[in-house]
């Protein structure tokens, strides 16, 4: 049984690997970035942690080794040195690569459901719970004492 499960898992694993990526990546420049001081490095790290790599989907710009991520890191550092604010740098990337690059989605009409949906669900749950509690509260108490007195 276990062997069959393992075989099945392996089958799915090869399926996942077999699909080739539709887009290739160039060879690039792997030189590390040189920071002026500690503050600049800290700001750069904090900013690139919040940005999503466009090529590799589940990595931040800080983590990714994709070539486009290297280019974008250089660009981000360049924009920082040009005196741009974090917000301006994010805007720069959104204009070119859409909201996809932001790990934390903006609050906009298209993302209202995402941001406020959980609150809505919580409110619905609270409503259900209070209505159940109320109903039981109304019915139960009068019956209990009567039975008790009869027993004794």
């Amino acid at each position: 049984m276990r062997r069959w499960l393992l075989a099945l898992c392996l089958c799915f694993a090869t399926l996942a690997i077999a699909a080739p990526p539709p887009v290739s990546q160039p060879l690039g420049d792997a030189r590390p970035l040189v920071f002026r001081d500690h503050a600049e490095e800290a700001r750069f790290r904090a900013l690139t942690e919040q940005l999503r790599c466009v090529m590799c989907q589940n990595q931040s710009l800080a983590d990714s080794n994709a070539l486009i991520a290297q280019d974008l890191r250089r660009e981000v550092l360049g924009l920082m040195r040009a005196g741009k604010s974090d917000e301006q740098i994010k805007q720069f990337l959104v204009e070119r690569y859409t909201d996809f690059v932001l790990y934390q989605p903006r609050v906009a009409p298209t993302t209202w459901l995402l941001w406020f949906g959980p609150l809505l669900l919580l409110a619905a749950g609270a409503f259900v719970v209070t209505s159940i509690v109320r109903k039981h509260g109304r019915g139960a108490p009068p019956t209990a004492p009567e039975n008790e007195s009869q027993e004794w």
Partner: protein
Amino acid sequence: MKRWLPLVVFLALAALLLAGVLMNSGKDTSAIASPLIGKPVPAFTLPVLGEPGRSISHEQLRGKPYLLNVWGSWCVNCRDEHPQILALQKSGRIHVVGYNYKDSPEEAQRWLQSFGNPYDVVIADEEGRVALDFGIYGAPESYLVDAQGLIRWKHVGPITDEVLKNEMEPVFAQIGVPAR
């Protein structure tokens, strides 16, 4: 009625999730839609491959629709779409501009010589700086630009016969590219 409520809630939730799956099936989830559709091409001036000293700007390309095809000699998938691009260029229906992305000029020219040059002209972006303005993040990628210099369509990944027929032809009709 009350007894069925959990089932109704379950079915509603299942329907919602199914709709989500159906909406995303068949879509390439790694492709990012371009925010530049309907906007002018980013300003650029890039050297022409194989013609030292000559460069082309976005202004010079304006006036007739063109296909901008991002490629590189390092790009394996670019060979997949090479026959389609070549056929399109040979047909003379649309101006085909090659965008040589992060490549060495020698390698790029060797690639064109060995497989055949499917481009009317090739601009070279060795550094990949202008590519950021286009929102390029790999190759192949393709853009259709109309005579006014507006980006009308973008595709990430190779141009297949299906892409040509189902996606590009309708855009061709809109931007005044003659029918086959």
